[in-house]
Point group: C2
Chain length 518, copies 2
Amino acid sequence: MIRFKSLSFLSFARSFSSSAQTSMATAKIIDGTALAKSVREEVAQRIKTLQAQHPRFRPQLAIIQAGSRPDSSVYVRMKSKAAEEVGIKFMHVPLPEEAPVDDIVQVVKKLNSDPTVSGILVQLPLGPHISADGERTVTEAVSPEKDVDGFHAYNIGHLSSRASNPLFNPCTPAGVIKLLDHAGVTIAGSHTVVLGRSDIVGNPVSAMLRKRDATVTQCHSRTRDLPQIVSEADILVSAIGQARFVKGEWLKPGAVVIDVGTNYIPDATKKSGQRLVGDVDFDSAASVASQITPVPGGVGPMTVAMLMENTLQAAERQWEETRARKVKPLKLDIKEKVPSDIEIAMAQTPKPVAELASEIGLLPQEVESYGQYKAKVELSVLDRLGHRKDGKYILVSGITPTPLGEGKSTTTIGLAQALGAHMGRLAFACVRQPSQGPTFGIKGGAAGGGYSQVIPMDEFNLHLTGDIHAVTAANNLLAAALDARMFHEATQSDKALYNRLVPTVKGKRAFAPLMFKH
Amino acid sequence: MIRFKSLSFLSFARSFSSSAQTSMATAKIIDGTALAKSVREEVAQRIKTLQAQHPRFRPQLAIIQAGSRPDSSVYVRMKSKAAEEVGIKFMHVPLPEEAPVDDIVQVVKKLNSDPTVSGILVQLPLGPHISADGERTVTEAVSPEKDVDGFHAYNIGHLSSRASNPLFNPCTPAGVIKLLDHAGVTIAGSHTVVLGRSDIVGNPVSAMLRKRDATVTQCHSRTRDLPQIVSEADILVSAIGQARFVKGEWLKPGAVVIDVGTNYIPDATKKSGQRLVGDVDFDSAASVASQITPVPGGVGPMTVAMLMENTLQAAERQWEETRARKVKPLKLDIKEKVPSDIEIAMAQTPKPVAELASEIGLLPQEVESYGQYKAKVELSVLDRLGHRKDGKYILVSGITPTPLGEGKSTTTIGLAQALGAHMGRLAFACVRQPSQGPTFGIKGGAAGGGYSQVIPMDEFNLHLTGDIHAVTAANNLLAAALDARMFHEATQSDKALYNRLVPTVKGKRAFAPLMFKH
């Protein structure tokens, strides 16, 4: 809200009145509806082209909506319609209005790690019980890579820095820049005045204009001499939500006006009794400005169009990353006088298994870590990657160990190292757990040897995750249960067991057959 | 760099020459050296006060320096000296100049999880082989909670947003604001002109001034009519690195000038042959401005002082968080008709163990996760918390199970629930792994029962992490090795083994005693 207190209007009016009177030409209208349509068509075309090459390429936009505020529902429908039209799959995630922050964050996290979701948007506002801090917790739970709204602090940080670019530009500011470019306006070197300092428009659009080499003056409710400042603007961007606040007389003749405001004012001639107007008094401004966006039909339609562009961009980036996947092998420090197996194994710090999993393209939820260097893989990965071409399977079968002890395991690991680290192919060594004690002395430990070993060798030799033991334990448990049952039924009555129980209150006995609890 | 091409100086000079001539008063000097000293003294005093209450409170600043550029070494020494003076422990982490990005990131991560380190600073520039992207990767590896430089995208994002505050303000911009406040300058409502758009000063100081309700115009190399814009400034902040670029004639009479520039110019009268000057032509500016910072002795000393303030703030926040630790118990969905143990166990989704570990104050490196819901704790935690007062130990000893089967385990878990979830005390239930199979049928599974169970119950009953198995496996391994050795030595010579070996090249035999490899 701009409160407009001290107008030093007099001096300003004097210096500019002459030029304002002489230029009565009507400004060119910047048509946001048409531009938004062409942006959406470009997005649709690009998706079609990519899908022709890669049939599995499928951008998806997920919107989380808590409750069912009518205005929110309208926005969600608009986005859903636009998405469907351009070929972006749409996922609506409705939550109860009273959903607490923690629950919404859980939903966001699930979408973060869902590889079919390209972009995530949390429809604000959330329920009335959620504070501004809570709202921020939710929007910042969105992974920056899927933050198609561009509202995550990480992306705003990059947007606001000179030395870097954000993963996404916020949609409305991006629409403003696109409108200026489309209208052929030179941003670099211009003096641009931005009215408003919201996190949705004013602040990010100022940062973007600065990046495009404009000299930016940002005004707000505490700004003095606003008409004076506005009068210096080659480009004016207004985002303050005050109906027809900016007057044509304030403008520099020939200025370009981008009106982000959407304000409803009473209008008896309309069926709804109201009418949509911008922050700028259109009629007076159009007679001074060189170009101007109308409301409606200016910035409004651009927001959704840019959201589609961001979602496509997210999907493309994620697609590229999946294809560009690369395992970075650890460096081997190979010594001329080869140390013992255990020395070699201990000299190497394994790569954290979570990092390795990410390098080979496993999703976090598909990996169950056991310590920092071991993990199990969910079998669901077989379904997710079912469409992929099968890899080549190399079986290292029975082999007589060489004089230096190289047998099946060493050959298997060595082959994986040669194919993976040296030839750059994605290679996995598949070995069983070491056969260990009972056969020790007859053959090796099944962990390979020399520079071709399974590490962490010590843990591998002690059966890693304890699974084999869990199977034997389950087997023993079952056997003991059967034994106990057979023994008791064959030789005992239940009576002796119940006798152990103490009487309960009221002199009655409680009968709880302990051994058959469940 | 401001390139200064099109001066529309004539019209500007006309309108302001009269006032510039009339105000020949000399500006008040804003003494940064004195203010910086008082900031550092306040920090020192606050640390003393906190240490009087909490003797273990000890802020520490870590600086990573790759290589030994003389200018970097000077800065590091300045910071180290300031830290020591105020009572902040200083850790210098020197790395070789050729250290690759990955290595530096590893060092940063280690410092992130070191609870004795309050703040981390990476002295830039890094080695010449590291690109701007690499440098960003390193600075963004610093945890935002320890980013006392305030350069992390996450903190810049919050700094640049209206709705939030960063964990840290960057030091030089924070110094600028502090100087203005100290000088009694009203920032709110002022028209402030910032020269420069660097990520270290120009951009963040603009965001901070905007937050303080200034109307900010940010200028840079592409700005036209710079003197005209400067002439409108109530406050001028210059950070462009151009010696004496801003002239006194440009200034509005009575303006406040903050000169962030530090530029060396030749000066034959100095022993070093050079002299430090600011971006502003001090002599001419001082006769127009109402207040002005000198160079040196203005903004310069504030940067290090604010770094001390940020480090203290980090330490205090981390200290508070450690003390405010709280376990959030999961909600129990208690049914009137109590379901079976297995139904109750399966109905609850355990809290991810990493989250639980963080709630009870374990550091990530002290916890080794086994799947998502189980973990081992490093014994080093005993040393780290050795100074803490011991907790109370409650032993649930031999007990005759109740008719409903409640024995030692159920009582133990129930007690921990009562003390923890109901009374809000930090309570841990310590139980051994279930005794399982051999005694099944005689007693329960040692996982408790009803709503007082150890979960995940199924995994717990299968010996969780396989440790017991690892011990038996190690024992078997050793036994087999001894057996094999005794058998071979008592009944066999080594000859038969060697006979299995194939001849090597040059007609000689290779002798590799397979079974005694190590």
